[in-house]
Subunit: 439 residues, 2 copies
């Protein structure tokens, strides 16, 4: 009884916050690109002014984290020193350089004399962004929200609460200085509020979870609001019978070891049976020299008898670590079937000099990214030149793969007439539509 | 216990069907536009060959429906006579004329020397389409699925089962004649299979429900697969103080009476207080002459004392009938607030000669369509020139509004290199990305 009352009262208060955010976002939605860029500059300026306060708040968070014996990698992400803050503020300023995602004309068409259709991009409305310990995410996300004309409700990690409060205070001061309603950026701090945020269907238009796979999956399973985020990155490298062996070794080492915990890192190496005798004895020592633990199926262990055997679970495991499963396949078709069965539709690569094999792989593999003769590690918004990555999606529907600012906007159809009515275009003596695209 | 066994066995058998469909769809995905158009022509030809069989099957359905005392409008939709079948086959042929939605280059960019990124549209995979009594939907949907390179699992209404079976048999024969695996088009016939279809997350990529609002809402609430469809069309016409009165009367009559049960028909007329005394006595008789029942708030009834009063429920009701609620508002802002509170984000219109008011309305109203000085009835894929409408979406995220073939495709990022690895682009002596868009 008490629990449900608490939950109800949380929901009510978050609805009010979301409505305020939406109202403030309406002002942002109407701003020109120049106005939004000025607001971003004002945010950067305000963050600089508040630097000492922010660093002090972060130090308090860090001391509490030490006392709580926070795991070392989390502590590293929590820590915000002067250099990291400077870098993040430079990142805020760089968002002003990106092209405005709002107001882009996607369709401009005459339907009839004096009846004009336009499809124009517009902001989504209110974003809900839930992230873990990194307080610098607050700055990046807020500036991307302003640039795309959206309000944003931020929920940071419990261990970063003082840092997030200091950052959001400075960001809101920056908005105020630029003449913008600071309610466009909101901060939540409790776990109960995360639950309430996920329930705000109709008030929040997109949820962006940033964190572990388990967390993203939890969010996906507990909201009816669209979610931008991928729960898993089970990526494969397939070395075809017509591969250049040196190229294949280099790509395998890069795709596994460049950043083992990244989602675009490979978990499984598929090798064509015809090339396995030549390739496996080359690639294994190169990977082992980088401390990669190899596991193999029966056929792979014929050539690499010293490695551990794989079992069925290996094919669906994202190790996020220096472990690689190796499977020998009989054909390109078998490789594609393995990938379409076990892959998470993130990024998949083939190494081959055979253009027809590459074309078949690219056509038939179902993934956001399909790569030929290069490392899966290129699957990234920055590397794609999208400007800034707001998330990576492994959904089938767009937006898919690394998503830039484009993922934070939607569109509206605008039709302008001069008293045009639809009944004139039906029945006897009906007027025809012209459907002429305008430049 | 038995129920869960039945359900489990249904799920299993549908998974097998979905996998077969996906496999067949892979062939479709690789076809050229010319091949797909030939397949569509073969389908049309096969439907013509089977016309007598289809009409006979439909007659049997119609006789059973009469015996079951099926409601008259449903019976009308079920009935497939020679003319209607000819028209539907012409519709199939017209799909071949549409531009190919697959293989469109959205991004073509050099990332570095010899490292090329392309973003190309590709089929979604497998569509699940659930429709009510109209058997002609089978032909339209199947041809759109083939054109977009997708497999499709169709679930028709129980009352149309013989018609659907005859149609799908002919369509599959057409695919076979064109050398295409007929498993790309599947038909389900029982209600239990609808449940099982909605549970096929990971096997079916998009659900398109066609039917009543209640049905679409049921589908949305009972699947985790993306749904293309709108549950409600609560559309408004706002007559501003600076409206041309004759234009406003014409548009109001068209937007309410052209097709009262359509989703883009208005349910509420909002009138600026300053123009109410002049406008209401003009528009009321024009609407009443078309048998529209008017309801009004207190202010509207000052000028139209004979009409029934509205209550709060009227503002959120889709009448789908010749009923119109009238509310007098104090300002443009109040009109926008009413629409953003009660509207279903479908289509909203303003009549005004004041360009600034129109611009504010277009910017601040949150809907898939925002119209100025024309009827909401233009919100339609055919009228927009999208070629064929596969659904209308009132979601915030794209695809939004009337959706053409574009809504049946997604995209892949393709990166082709020559041994490129990511570690070369980081750290000391790192190579820079060129990010040069190619034409």
């Amino acid at each position: 009884m008490i629990a449900s009352q608490v939950s109800a009262s949380n929901t009510v208060s978050l609805t009010a916050i979301a409505q305020k955010t939406r109202q403030a976002a309406q002002q942002l939605a109407g701003l020109t690109a120049a106005d939004k860029n000025r607001a971003i500059a004002a945010i950067a300026q305000s963050l600089e002014t508040a630097a000492a306060e922010i660093i002090a708040a972060n130090q308090a968070d860090c001391e509490a984290a030490l006392a709580d014996n926070l795991a070392k990698p989390l502590y590293g992400r929590l820590k915000l020193d002067t250099d990291k803050l400077k870098g993040a503020i430079a990142g805020v300023r760089s968002v002003a350089q990106l092209p405005d995602p709002v107001g882009q004309v996607q369709i401009h068409r005459q339907l009839d004399d004096g009846l004009i259709l336009k499809r124009l991009t517009c902001p989504l409305g209110v974003l809900g962004v839930i992230f873990e310990s990194r307080p610098d995410a607050v700055m990046q996300i807020s500036s991307l929200a302003v640039k795309s004309g959206n309000g944003v409700i931020l929920k940071g990690g419990r261990e970063a609460v003082l840092s997030c409060q200091a950052l959001v205070k400075a960001i809101r001061q920056g908005l105020t200085n630029a003449g913008i309603n600071p309610a466009a950026v909101q901060l939540l701090t409790t776990r109960e509020e995360t639950q309430a945020l996920l329930a705000l269907e109709g008030y929040v238009d997109l949820i962006i979870p940033r964190g572990s796979n388990a967390f993203v999956r939890y969010v996906q399973e507990n909201t009816r609001i669209p979610v931008l985020g991928h729960a898993e990155g089970i990526c494969h490298l397939y070395v075809d019978q017509a591969a250049d062996l040196d190229q294949a070794v280099n790509i395998a080492v890069d795709a596994k070891t460049d950043y083992p915990s990244a989602c675009n890192t490979i978990e499984t190496l598929l090798v064509h049976r015809a090339i396995a005798p030549g390739f496996l004895p080359l690639v294994a020592p190169a990977l082992q020299a980088r401390q990669v633990e190899l596991r193999g199926d029966t056929a792979a262990r014929q050539w690499l008898p010293q490695i551990q055997p794989t079992d069925e679970a290996d094919w669906s495991t994202e190790y996020s670590d220096l472990i690689l499963a190796i499977r020998v396949v009989d054909s390109l078709t078998a490789a594609i079937a393995h990938i379409n069965t076990y892959g998470s539709r993130h990024t998949e690569a083939i190494v081959t000099q055979d253009e027809a094999a590459a074309a078949q792989f690219i056509a038939q593999v179902n993934a956001a990214g399909v790569f030929h003769n290069c490392s899966t590690r290129f699957a990234d918004g920055f590397r794609y030149g999208l400007g800034a990555e707001v998330g990576i999606s492994t959904q089938q529907m767009p937006p898919r793969g690394p998503v830039g600012l484009e993922g934070l906007v939607t569109y509206k159809y605008q039709v302008v007439g001069d008293g045009h009515i639809a009944s004139a275009y039906a029945g006897e003596n009906s007027k025809p539509f012209t459907h002429r695209d305008l430049t």
